[in-house]
């Protein structure tokens, strides 16, 4: 048992408990240890990604009895490795950014402790191979995020947190309910074992019911359109680094990741489920972007655009599912799913950067109202340039990464003969460009009315933003086929080949 996988959960969890204790003695512990551990974890996960290391770890060493797994498994395959990279890397940059940003709040130690707890929960969700354990980790990360949303303890923050908690709790009940239903029918909790049982299972009405409940539960966590009501409030009220984490990582790690993992590796998905996912994705893409146009609060605009971008990710998976079930060409499905994964990575980079930029503006001017701002590009050149890069990336302008991932999804849609979806994706991309032009124009260009004497943000904040904008351009290389094969196609193949995941857990 010389596996390094449990470190992804243990290290952040231990740090979260150490920070309040050691933080009483020295003030510097929390802000130095958090970026250091997250940097270490991101190096570890990137090395796993390049070596293509796929393995499982048995907690407690309880070996399977008669090929039935009885212990809790942590499973690392291509897909979970990709998501681990996002969590650790964005987590590192955000925690480094927070060193300067969080000075305006009083209890820095609590902030970092909750932050580490959230990271531990998300890593646990991504690694867990057991649905009940996944639920426990999910609750750890979302309870930490409830507290972090309310961290400013102002009127808006508390109200947003309460709303988020009520909807989040309903989502958790639905998830627990579906876990109960699955256990009832299969008498096991291990994802690989459930998928083995479900392969010879024919009560399709019951299965469809469970799948719908699961989509509702995780759809609430991922803020797909009919379930999106909490997201604009929660993401705009949280402190900016946390908004970057919530929008960039949390809705993917606990929402999209789990949906995709369960539908590809646990259930035998049907054509109808593919249609449902694609329709939900299209709805959130269109409605999210239309709602974003009219926002004058920077962070609300970004939050609505998150809903819209999650739609793109869901569409790619939906197209992949539809093609795979109808027996179409597998290569198109692979392209669609790879495009989705690529967009997932890209979205966490540029949306993280945009929220950090919004945080930088708020840090200096104390306002988020776009109509009050203007002409900041002279005073804050770094923030202005990085935000411009991220805006161009999210609206799909080459050579930024957002262009390539959208292009891959659209090409896959055209090749799979989903012309309407491709057209809608292009139109929504233009709408995205429109509202990001509005954001750029009213914040960084035009006439500086009220804020003549502000300075650029401190080093820690500008450093994170510069690294992220370099990533925005650098990640474009993932579009090159030979590099895509190494990184993205590993994740895709571990999703499409059901046996790959099962073999990691149950050695026949």
């Amino acid at each position: 048992m010389n596996s390094l996988i449990p470190l992804f959960v243990i290290i952040p969890l231990a740090t979260a408990f150490l920070i309040p204790i050691i933080g009483k003695i020295t003030n510097y512990f929390a802000k130095t240890i958090t970026p250091i551990i997250l940097l270490a974890l991101s190096i570890l996960s990137i090395s796993f990604l390049f070596y293509g290391k796929h393995e499982s770890y048995i907690i407690g060493g309880w070996q399977p009895v008669e090929n039935i797994p009885i212990a809790i498994y942590l499973v690392l395959d291509g897909f979970s490795c990709l998501v681990l990279c996002i969590t650790s890397l964005i987590g590192f940059l955000v925690s480094f950014y927070s060193i300067s940003y969080i000075k305006k709040y009083t209890s820095e130690n609590n902030f970092y402790a909750l932050f580490c707890l959230m990271i531990a929960g998300m890593n646990g969700v991504v690694l867990s191979g057991d649905i009940f354990n996944l639920f426990v980790f999910l609750e750890i990360s979302v309870i930490a995020s409830y507290a972090l949303v309310a961290f400013g303890v102002g009127k808006n923050e508390l109200e947003a947190s309460f709303k988020y908690q009520v909807l989040g709790n309903i989502a958790s009940f639905l998830i627990l309910f579906s876990i109960a239903l699955l256990y009832w029918q299969t008498k096991t909790l291990n994802i690989a074992d459930i998928s083995k049982v479900l392969q010879n299972y024919d009560n399709s009405i019951f299965l469809t019911f469970t799948q719908i409940i699961l989509i509702t539960g995780f759809g609430l966590k991922a803020a797909i359109i009919p379930f999106h009501a909490w997201l604009p409030d929660a993401h705009s009220s949280a402190p900016s680094p946390i908004s970057a984490m919530l929008s960039g990582v949390l809705i993917k790690a606990v929402g999209v990741y789990v949906l995709v993992r369960l539908f590809f590796n646990m259930f035998v998905f049907t054509y109808e489920i593919g249609v449902l996912v694609a329709v939900l994705g299209t709805l959130s893409m269109i409605v999210g972007s239309l709602l974003a146009i009219n926002q004058w609060d920077i962070k609300r605009l970004l939050a609505y655009s998150s809903i819209s971008q999650i739609g793109y990710i869901m569409i790619g998976f939906g197209i992949g599912m539809m093609i795979l079930t109808k027996g179409g060409e597998a290569s198109i499905a692979v392209l669609a799913i790879a495009g989705s994964l690529f967009h997932m990575v890209n979205h966490s980079v540029f949306k993280g950067l945009l929220f950090l930029g919004a945080g930088a503006i708020e840090f200096r001017t104390n306002t988020r109202d776009m109509s009050q701002l203007g002409g900041l590009s002279e005073n804050m050149p770094i923030t202005s340039t990085t935000s411009l890069g991220a805006s161009m990336s999210i609206s799909g302008i080459p050579p930024f990464n957002g262009f390539f991932s959208k292009l891959i999804i659209i090409i896959a849609a055209i090749q799979g003969k989903f012309y309407l979806l491709a057209l809608l994706a292009v139109i929504v991309s233009i709408i995205t460009l429109a509202y990001f032009l509005k954001f750029q124009k009213s914040v960084f260009y035009g006439k500086n009315k009220n804020y003549k004497n502000i300075k650029e943000v401190p080093f820690a904040m500008s450093f994170s933003m510069i690294i992220l904008v370099i990533l925005c351009i650098g990640l474009s290389v993932l579009a090159i086929p030979s590099i895509r094969e190494v990184i993205l196609d590993q994740a895709v193949s571990s999703l499409i080949n059901m046996d790959h995941y099962i073999n990691l857990v149950i050695q026949y």
Binding site: V136, K155, S161, Q165, N169, D233, S237
Partner: protein, 112 residues
Amino acid sequence: MIVYILCFILFLVGLYGLITRRNLIKIVISLSIMEFSIFILLVLIGYIDGGIAPIIPENVTNPTYVDPLPQAMVLTAIVIGLATTAMLMAIAIRLYRKYRTFDIRDIKNLKG
């Protein structure tokens, strides 16, 4: 069968309360009711007619045990439920200090 229906009715009671009540504390209570209906369902899934607690007794051959795994799951879920309820209550009390009321009709700065 009747137990499952009662469990479902408990869930609906919680949902009704969540939708119709205007008081923050009552919303939290409704959420707890919904939560516990799901816990009861989990326990019911593990129940076997005439089963005994899963402890090996002396002098009894081949006893019928109830399934212990859902019970362990419910214990974990109750602990999580405690954390979420405590968090909700803490936020509700903070909201009361800011607004001097528990009525959600007066707490509407954000538009969703």
